[in-house]
Amino acid sequence: MKLTNIFSRGLVMDNPVFVQALGMCPILAVTNTAFNSLGMGMATTSVLLGSNIVISLLRKSIPAKIRIPCFIVVIATFVTMVGMILEAYFPDLNQSLGIFVPLIVVNCLILGRAESFASKNSLVGSVTDAIGMGLGFTGALVVLGMVRETFGFGSLFDMQLFGEAFEPMALMAMPPGAFLALGILMAAFNKIVYAKLK
């Protein structure tokens, strides 16, 4: 497969969020503002990039029978590193992502890419795949975060959009809003993709 195909597949056709619905927990939990979404997306992308590189390099020496535990240890190592970096340089972001930073370990997206791509492909392909999937994940998260922040707080990246008279729709900032907004966004994405295919 050509590198450009590998890259664009993660962004649109196999988008991890809108098409594959992988890694739903962080998608729903930390997208109440656009900034949090961006932080979560970048953190996940860095872990995915690191784990794809290491697993692709080790793919010939990992025994097939115990590959899943091996993958999880590699992923957990990178998550611990990203967690420490967040704690040291972005304490506020770390605070608002909270428990979902260590939970990147069990994001099905990362283990899924390790199992179905990095363990079978060369280093260059795996890096491209990680960047494509990571950006697709981040992009979807930021879109969802922007929608929820606009309705839930009346702001975008912490800038106020509307005047004093705006009454924020608190529901969108709370858990039900996450489910509803993602459901509607997914339907919209389907609509656009279906329209293209026809």
């Binding site: 899943i68 260590p102 069990v106 996450a178 389907n190 279906y194």
Partner: protein, 193 residues
């Protein structure tokens, strides 16, 4: 440490801070496995067992290994390994003792490893500084809450299969919107504790 504080932990884990609908933990099996009530219930039972055992073991590991050696930063790696080996163990035990249950759970058993509700629960136990008894009851409450949400959701989804929907909403989108409405209903429990 009184009976009432245990009750508060239980009720808040089941209803107020329901793991699936308000903490967003364990969404993957919630959306993936919840097509039939029976399999959802089996999944709930397996998760209950793993959650309770994992909470006890990680509590002991945190207290006697990580803290006594001063390597708390290894928490994520140690906990996920404990959960992964526990799931493997549960799988072998069920396979030996009750082949019928093993068959009905099938592929859902190994999937529990990547259920973030289990890892999330063990980390929350440590963050909330629960003692061993509180940890056990928090685990039971979380597991009941998970089972309740997934079984209720499966019952709704069995009906959704037959509903006449626009093409774009079929599958995940309508499932998410349904989950949103359920989550809204569970918000009614907020004043309870």
């Amino acid at each position: 440490m009184s009976a009432s504080s245990i009750f508060v932990i239980l009720v808040s884990a089941i209803f107020v801070n329901n793991f699936v609908l308000s903490r967003f933990l364990g969404i993957c099996p919630f959306l993936g496995v919840s097509r039939k009530v029976e399999t959802s219930f089996g999944m709930g039972m397996a998760v209950t067992f793993v959650m309770t055992m994992a909470s006890i073991i990680t509590f002991l590991a945190q207290r006697f290994i990580l803290e006594s050696l001063g390597i708390e930063y290894m928490q994520t790696i140690v906990f996920i390994l404990v959960i992964a080996s526990l799931v493997q163990l549960v799988e072998m035990v069920i396979q030996k003792t009750s082949p019928t249950l093993y068959q009905s759970l099938g592929v859902y058993l190994p999937l529990i490893t990547t259920n973030c509700a289990v890892l999330g629960l063990t980390i929350l136990n440590i963050q909330n500084q629960y003692n061993l008894i509180e940890t056990i009851f928090h685990a039971i409450g979380a597991a009941i809450g998970f089972t309740l949400a997934i079984v209720l959701f499966a019952a709704i989804r069995e009906r959704l299969e037959l509903a006449d929907l626009p093409l774009e909403f079929k599958g995940f989108p309508i499932a998410l919107i349904t989950a949103g409405l359920m989550s809204l209903a569970f918000m009614g429990f907020i004043g309870l504790v």
